[in-house]
Amino acid sequence: MPEATDVEVSGLERISGGASRETYRFRLAWRQAGQEHARQLILRRDPPASLIDTERRVEFAAYRAFHGSAVPVPRMLWLEEADDALDHPFFIAEELTGYQASPQLLFGGGYDAVLPRVAERKWAILGEIARADPVALGLEQVMEAPALDACWRRELDHWEAIFDSDEAEPQPIARAAIRWLRANPPPPAQKLSVVHGDYRTGNFLYDEQGEIHGVLDWEMAHLGDPLEDLAWGFNPVWQFGRGLAGGLVPRDEAVAIWRRASGLEVDPAALHWWILFNCVKGQGIWVGSARAFIDGGNREPIMVYAAWWLLNAQDRAILQVMGKL
């Protein structure tokens, strides 16, 4: 904004949650060409240590790639990767106002009539993400493009390394799952897709009609097997105790919506592999959350709550998916 004068920030307020980035909303007012302007914006800043460690450039690029497409995302404005302005890298985006993200609110009773609509939109949008061409979106410039038969190994290697570096105590259930995953690899991906990486209820903005207005939290976005993204939402912990995919509809319905939107097939054995993988990935995130607190890099209570609430639940999810519970 080189032409702007009288720039004023007001109403700065931290938004709860955000274990991987600190998130604030604020109002930006300025004068330009003799006129007053004002916008409601979001600031996402890296914390000292995170539940997951990712490149903010990748997240920024993913949002930008989908802006204006069938995948609703907020508009990204500025990215700052240096530490000197706000101590840590950050980006600024337009705020999408008037919508909700909370799963607790969604499942609190007031939205029951529109839950099927939320489900339709949720998996249709995920299908659009899967259908998109990463090269046409320019994302292969910021994201590694693995071979179709290497997608699973790259992800499994990455998350096993998280256990090696971060676990504060042995994880016999997750380690057994990792051994099974290595011994029973899935078929090659049917195409290389953008993988959001954390596409679950709680990471999109919805309204009272069940429409979805923004897909958020792209910090784990990468290129890979589209079934990975579909399976993340089938991790049993994301049923929120409701016995439904994403807490919304039976899994078969979710898969049918996704197939229609993506034009892709769902091999049941491959989907099972990716669901179990995502249980391991989830456990890697909770293990990393505990580690960030233990090492003192991030003493936010959310880091503890994620670990206390979910470490054992995720172990039980692994057992359930492996048929051992």
Partner: protein, 127 residues
């Protein structure tokens, strides 16, 4: 639970002291106090049974491994250290059972792993 309860309670104490000061932004104060209350509730739920759970589990795993559980004391930190040692050995035993195709051994280990999640299950568990 991991991170360990004493370290977390110490952090929650500092968090409460900070949020007792005037001038904290109300949304941040509300968020901090809500999370603090949730952590305190989980600590309260697990406190009474923590030592018994670890002693039971250490005996069960040691029995399964044919390992003499070390008596390092009854502090939770000592019981947890022994638990970590034994569960590390349990991983080795599981790998060995898979390598030799010892299905009976694998079944026994899976049973113990399932039991371990029952011992740790919280009232708010999602699974």
């Amino acid at each position: 639970m991991t991170p360990e309860v004493p370290a977390v309670l110490s952090e929650v104490a500092q968090l409460l002291a900070r949020n007792a000061q005037p001038g904290m932004p109300e949304p941040e104060r509300a968020n901090a106090l809500t999370l603090a209350s949730m952590l305190l509730a989980l600590a309260a739920e697990t406190w009474d049974g923590a030592a018994e759970m670890l002693v039971q589990e250490n005996r069960a795993v040691a029995g399964l491994l044919g390992d003499a559980a070390a008596e390092g004391g009854l502090r939770l930190s000592a019981l947890r250290a022994e638990n970590a040692r034994l569960r590390g050995l349990l991983i080795d035993a599981h790998v060995a059972a898979e390598a030799t195709g010892d299905t009976a051994r694998q079944k026994a280990i899976w049973a113990e792993l399932r039991a371990s999640t029952e011992r740790r299950k919280l009232s708010i568990s999602l699974v």
